[in-house]
């Protein structure tokens, strides 16, 4: 599928060697016992106007990665360049300016909005914090409601008066008011019903096209990822297992973990149910006692001694497709 921004990609987010370790301590003096490697040496470039889907089981580090990208928690190592700037090195006004260009939408719209504030105040809050005059903020809030196809009268509603789909629209409206170029969406539709999910996905795609936004979408629902993403990144225990164009990842996944994940994902067509293969055994391992070699070796049907001893690098099968598996080390 040819796409204008794939032909001349301009990076929006460049992640190199990114690490986030949480220290494990014990005893009265917090003696360091080790660390939880929630994000471990991730390299990933997201181009402008692209939708990247981040897949993986719970505990794979998807949300931690997003939090580190957003600089909500400091990285242990590596760097994140946002439009060419290293946000961990920015302070004061410069940091605020970069923050303005990134917005987030989380899974549970109800816990996302302050129950004591009406919708207008919630939408205005980020603008007030960034010094937008109040009158202008009200105007922009009204505009944002139009963008998410909601009637202005809902500006005076409180969260408990609205449905899940409406709340998620408001969360999106709030994210849009500062005109960001990058949006991080953490499970944006997981709490919604199918028909509402379809409305939100359509809305997100419309907005992305209208404003040329860059999205990082985190979800465990592979059908949603396949629908919305240009490229899919698959994480397992803090490591990036595979990253490539959506068509390739869904029709010809290379990493055994991606294959297992695809096989486990329900296919929405009963006539294909007999085609199941390679159902993955076991469970996601622990981030505390990580193996020396490949993180997936314990569950991998193709694991060799090398996999158990050595950590695979990211091998490029072509310019857009990388796999972290020794089978593709050529």
């Amino acid at each position: 599928m040819s796409n204008a921004n794939v032909n001349a990609p301009v990076p929006a987010i460049e992640i190199s060697g990114l690490k986030k370790y949480f220290p494990l301590t014990s005893g009265a003096f917090n003696a360091k016992k080790g660390s939880v490697k929630a994000v471990d040496d991730i390299n990933l470039t997201i181009n402008k106007g692209e939708i990247i889907g981040l897949a993986g089981e719970s505990g794979s580090g998807k949300t931690t990665l997003a939090r580190v990208i957003l600089n909500l928690t400091p990285a242990t190592g590596g760097q994140v360049l946002m439009n060419g700037q290293d946000i961990s090195k920015l302070h004061g006004r410069e940091l605020k300016a970069v923050r303005r260009s990134i917005a987030t939408v989380f899974q549970d719209p109800a816990s996302n909005l302050n129950p004591r504030l009406n919708v207008l105040s919630s939408i205005m809050r980020p603008m007030i914090l960034h010094g937008v005059p109040k009158a202008e903020a009200v105007e922009k809030a009204q505009e944002a409601m139009k963008l998410v196809k909601m009637d202005e009268r809902y500006l005076y509603s409180y969260p408990h008066q609205l449905s899940g789909g409406q709340l998620q629209r408001i969360a999106i409206a709030r994210a849009l008011v500062l005109r960001p170029d990058i949006m991080v969406l953490d499970e944006p539709t997981s709490a919604l019903d199918i028909s509402v999910q379809a409305q939100i996905l359509n809305l997100l795609l419309d907005l992305q096209e209208q404003f040329g936004l860059t999205y990082l979408v985190i979800t465990h629902d592979l059908n949603v990822l396949r629908y919305i993403s240009d490229r899919i990144a698959v994480m397992y225990l803090g490591k990036l297992m595979e990253f490539g164009p959506t068509e390739t990842i869904s029709s010809n996944p290379l990493h055994p973990y991606t294959r297992g994940l695809m096989a486990a994902s329900p296919i929405l067509d009963p006539t294909l149910r007999s085609q199941k293969k390679e159902l993955m055994g076991g469970e996601t391992g622990s981030l505390i006692n990580l193996p020396k070699g490949c993180r997936f070796a314990a569950r991998c049907p193709h694991a060799t001694d090398r996999c158990r001893e050595e950590l695979p690098k990211d091998y490029h099968v072509d310019a857009l497709h990388q796999v972290s598996c020794f089978m593709y080390d050529k």
């Binding site: 599928m1 719970s58 199918i194 379809a198 592979l222 396949r226 068509e247 329900p266 006539t271 469970e283």
Partner: protein, 335 residues
């Protein structure tokens, strides 16, 4: 009514039959119709999926079958026939014997159903001891059940406390507990919603195997069409308290016939964005406080005409095991 088991041994009858089932919840000024005119049958060894969006009444049906709606704020009409016996009419003591022995149920969050201070194995054993086995026999059976639901290291895991197990393992323990008394019907209310896809696939495989091994019928309550496509033999689609369409899962997926089912199927993200936007359904599910004739989907249906608001739609047959309720079958097929 003491010898319920022999009385129920009538194999002619389908395992479960809901006849004109209606459930209303008492609210401040009147009643809220949660389920209305539901007719539905289930045979032995069948996996039937009850699908619908939140608030459609699917869980209400499950809780009513188990007689777990306990605050007295509901009004139940119609019949719930389990092997010919109306579960809504039998005395509470008989219903207690029914639960577990004949009908088991697993819930979305297994942690809510397990006692945190007892070993999981003991909790499963408790169910088995009800059948009068000795402790030694019962414990052995627990270990075998753990093996049946493929809990690795079964001999050790029977001694685990709930907090020591992962979500997938806890759900297996719940399934083991339900299996311990080999019920004919297992009601699974969103059994995998809290789990990752890989674990979900494993649990579904276990449920499918159980169906084959024990001939257990499974009533799966879910909002996930993916699950239905994976495991169900039959599907019943609910909307605002009604079953709008039901039938063989292959037929319903191949030829969804009710406008709601048709639109819902197209709202599923089955394609990529390059193939176009997803179908959406405008409007909201109505809150029905006043029972009047008419189709409950009418206010959102693109085909609705006057008759849809005034008369109940007829039940139409597509094939021998596929029916739906609509006034405009022909137009719906072109929707």
């Amino acid at each position: 009514m003491s010898d319920i088991v022999t009385k129920l041994d009538n194999t002619e009858e389908p395992l479960l039959r809901l006849e004109d089932l209606s459930i209303d919840y008492r609210i401040r000024n009147g009643y809220l119709s949660a389920v209305s005119d539901v007719n539905f049958t289930m045979n032995r060894g069948e996996i039937v999926a009850l699908v619908g969006e939140s608030g459609c009444g699917k869980s209400t049906i499950a809780f009513t079958i188990m007689r777990l709606l306990m605050d007295g704020n509901e009004k139940i009409g119609g019949k719930i026939l389990f092997k010919g016996e109306d579960l809504n009419k039998i005395p509470v003591r008989d219903m207690e014997k029914m639960r577990g022995k004949h009908i088991g149920m697993i819930f979305q969050n297994p942690l809510d159903s397990l006692n945190p201070v007892y070993r999981t194995g003991s909790q499963v054993e408790e169910a088995i001891l009800l059948d009068g086995l000795s402790h030694k026999e019962a414990w052995e059976r627990v270990i075998n059940l753990y093996k049946d639901v493929r809990i690795p290291d079964a001999e050790k895991r029977v001694n685990s406390y709930p907090h020591e197990l992962s979500g997938g393992m806890r759900q297996r323990v719940m399934i083991a507990m339900m299996l311990s008394r080999t019920p004919e019907l297992l009601i699974a209310d969103e059994p995998t919603t809290a789990l990752d896809v890989t674990i979900e696939a494993q649990i579904l495989q276990i449920l499918k195997d159980l169906k084959t091994q024990y001939n257990t019928a499974i009533l799966m309550i879910t909002h996930n069409f993916g699950l239905v496509a994976e495991v169900a033999d039959r599907i019943a689609v609910m909307y605002a308290g009604n079953i709008v369409e039901q039938g063989n899962v292959f037929d319903v997926f191949a030829a969804p016939s009710h406008p709601y089912t048709r639109l819902l199927m197209r709202a599923l993200p089955r394609k990529t964005k390059h193939e176009g936007r997803l179908e959406t359904i405008d409007g909201n599910v109505p809150r029905i406080t006043e029972k009047k004739p008419g189709c409950r989907f009418a206010n959102r249906c693109p085909l609705a005409k006057e008759i849809c608001f005034t008369e109940n739609p007829p039940v139409l047959t597509v094939s021998h095991d596929h029916t739906f309720s609509c006034h405009f079958a022909e137009e719906a097929s072109k929707l």
